[in-house]
């Protein structure tokens, strides 16, 4: 297990984890009403109107519960423009060539401990392929839920945007409250060919444990995108409010000339949550650009680390990076840490790094109180102001939800 992260990880008994669990009523889900009511409730809570979306929001959803994909909507509509959006298990059966061509090319099974574990035991996940020249007409999204006790979740997402293709993809995650810790070790791979663009957004709300740090999900995830083609672009946006421990570094390998990588992140740690998160931007092609905006929020006894690598290889002439790492503290017992790594092997590269740390002061809260705004709303206002730059990167319908989530996850953290 990797030991370099700024995390205190209790020993995990891997023999004790159930590596495959299928939801009990794995029946046919032709009718949306047949979906597990728990799952539906989860979606409702997260503002994902699985029922209405057929008419309203135009978001296609793949729902993965425990180890199995239970429902993919809009498959037929998408298929009309040649887009494949289905569960990983279906993809293996129906599009074995595509899966073989791309799977493991960005995150090899030898990449790291959790990637190996995932590669060995994963059972399902989401697969998406956008063919040449197609702009995906709707938001695609995957909803993950860990439901059963003692179960680990090991899903994989593989997302391929062929030349000139565009897709915006969102994943959301929830899990019920449980006293024991549960492991989530997922892999996400993205490939962007020439002139393709992929926006990948995450709203992560796995169960964070209770206020004393009991229970919660261990979120050890490997996410990486490869800008394989020229002028390609991959952009990660993440709102991380859940999980007891988060260990993830959505990264971009900028191989194609003129390719662009972006990472926008808000990570909240409240109570006893820990997060060590950030990104890697590997500049290989010429004139490659990357932007990193990381906003950490720590409250309670939360520990929040940003860890990021900007690497410019020898031939990456004209590479540019801008990094902004901000930390916001609520209270006196939390911590914020920044570990930026910069490795530059090309003289023409321009790499900028800015960092700030600030604290929500009692003065600010009182000022809001005096204008009639409650402490809870004041924190919401201030935190959302702080995180606005990142939240604005989310698709509209999820931005509102993310704002609420931020506020809820910080409830009771001051005053």
């Amino acid at each position: 297990m990797p030991a370099w992260a700024n995390l205190k990880i209790p020993a995990i008994d891997y023999q004790d984890i159930i590596f495959y669990a299928a939801p009990k009523q794995k029946a046919s889900y032709d009718n949306i009403d047949d979906i597990d009511p728990e799952l539906k409730k989860t979606f409702d809570k997260l503002g994902i109107p699985l029922e209405e979306q057929k008419h309203l929001s135009g978001v296609a959803v793949d729902a993965v519960m425990d180890s199995v994909s239970v429902k993919t909507t809009f498959r037929e509509t998408l298929a009309e423009s040649g887009i494949i959006f289905c569960s990983f298990s279906d993809a293996v059966k129906e599009y074995p060539d595509l899966v073989r061509r791309y799977m493991g090319t960005v995150v090899p099974y030898t990449d790291n401990f959790f990637a190996s574990l995932n590669s060995a035991v994963f059972s399902d996940g989401s697969f998406c392929y956008i063919p040449k020249g197609v702009r995906c007409p709707m938001e695609l999204s995957t909803y993950f839920r860990i439901n059963s006790a003692n179960t680990g979740q090991f899903e994989r997402t593989l997302l391929v945007a062929d030349e000139e293709a565009y897709v915006s993809y969102l994943e959301g995650c929830t899990a019920p409250m449980r006293d024991e810790n549960q492991l989530h070790a997922a892999i996400v791979e993205i490939i962007a060919e020439n002139n393709a663009e992929v926006k990948y957004s995450t709203v992560q709300n796995w169960y964070p444990g209770d206020k004393d740090g009991k229970g919660g999900i261990f979120n050890f995830v490997t996410k990486r995108g490869l800008c394989r083609g020229e002028n390609s672009k991959i952009s990660w946006t993440q709102i991380e409010t859940g999980s007891a421990i988060t260990w993830k570094y959505p990264s971009c390998i900028l191989r194609g000339d003129n390719s662009t990588g972006e990472f926008y992140s808000v990570a909240v740690t409240n109570h006893y949550q820990q997060a060590d998160t950030g990104t890697k931007m590997i500049h290989i092609g010429k004139n490659t650009k990357s932007t990193i905006v990381s906003k950490g929020i720590s409250a309670g006894h939360g520990q929040n680390s940003y860890r990021g690598l900007v690497k410019v290889l020898k031939n990456a002439t004209g590479a540019r990076n801008f990094s902004q790492c901000d930390s916001l503290l609520l209270g006196n017992q939390c911590g914020a840490h920044t570990f930026p790594y910069i490795e530059v092997d090309n003289q023409t590269a321009i790499v900028e790094h800015e960092a700030t740390t600030s604290k929500i002061g009692e003065d600010q809260i009182f000022y809001c109180n005096q204008r009639g705004i409650s402490t809870q709303d004041a924190i919401g206002l201030i935190v959302n102001g702080y995180a606005r730059e990142v939240i604005n990167k989310l698709p509209m319908e999820f931005a509102v939800e993310a704002q609420k989530l931020l506020q809820i996850s910080l409830e009771g953290s001051v005053g």
């Binding site: 600030s358 009692e362 009182f366 109180n369 005096q370 204008r371 009639g372 705004i373 206002l381 102001g385």
Partner: protein, 254 residues
């Protein structure tokens, strides 16, 4: 409207207010003057509900209710407005968003629907004109990077938006150029209604040329040591506080 009786308060165990009694009736304007560190801002803080000031004795009733038991945000919604001596910066929170939240909280408290976006912007525009605040300021983050004078004008703008029953203005005139002073004072006068009151804390008589007080109090060492008409302000401007301090110290000795 407001009755303060024998109010004593301390900060970190140190007595700051040492028995203040004051009654403000509807429609009145009270000026409070007094040397630095005498407790003027502390009194304002107690009235607004700041928690680090610890009230040890006395009572404050506001429209018949025990004010000291009300949380700060409720006092605001009940019509108490504090213009801060040092307005606070809140980076990342736009004035529009801040004021919209505040105004709608006040409306909710009164059982009114929240204002629509367009009605709200209209209200903002009206009030901006009323207090002659630069339109650009309202598009920035709350007080962030505002100059000293701009912050003070912004306090008056917020007061205009919230239409308080009792406005407590803590040195809103300090740091203002002469034009800004007139604007702020005019703002206060325009917003004044026959049934609303104000407590104006100031060091300078010139503000009271614009805002005509009914009473002037002098606060010294945590006590109101002198209460008189407007002319008291002039006297202080001329002679300073020494003569009042002497009077007080003499009384203490005897």
């Amino acid at each position: 409207m407001l009755i303060i009786k024998n109010l004593k308060a301390e900060i970190d165990g140190k007595a700051i207010l040492k028995g203040i009694s004051l009654e403000v009736k509807a429609g009145e304007i009270h000026a409070i003057m007094g040397p630095n560190g005498s407790g003027k801002s502390t009194l304002a803080a107690v009235l607004a509900g700041r928690e680090f000031v610890n009230v040890t004795e006395g009572s404050v009733t506001y429209f018949g209710k025990n004010l000291l038991e009300m949380p700060a945000e409720e006092r605001s919604k009940e019509g108490i407005f504090l213009g801060f001596q040092y307005p606070i910066e809140i980076p990342g929170v736009s004035m529009v968003n801040f004021m919209k939240t505040a105004v709608n909280e006040h409306r909710k408290y009164k059982g009114l629907e929240p204002l629509s976006a367009s009605d709200f912007l209209k209200l903002m525009r009206e009030k901006k004109e009323l207090v002659e605040i630069d339109s650009k300021l309202a598009n920035r983050s709350v007080n962030e990077g505002f100059s000293g004078g701009e912050k003070k004008k912004n306090e008056i703008f917020q007061m205009a938006m919230l239409e308080p029953k009792l406005a407590i203005l803590d040195e809103t005139d300090s740091g203002l150029d002469i034009d800004a002073l007139r604007i702020v004072a005019n703002g206060v006068n325009k917003l004044k209604r026959p049934d609303t009151s104000a407590i104006v804390i100031t060091h300078y008589q010139r503000l009271l040329d614009y805002i005509i007080p009914d009473v002037v109090h002098v606060l010294y060492d945590g006590r109101i040591v002198k209460t008189s008409g407007r002319e008291l302000a002039l006297e202080i401007e001329e002679k300073g506080y020494d003569w009042i301090k002497k009077e007080v110290d003499k009384k203490d000795l005897s």
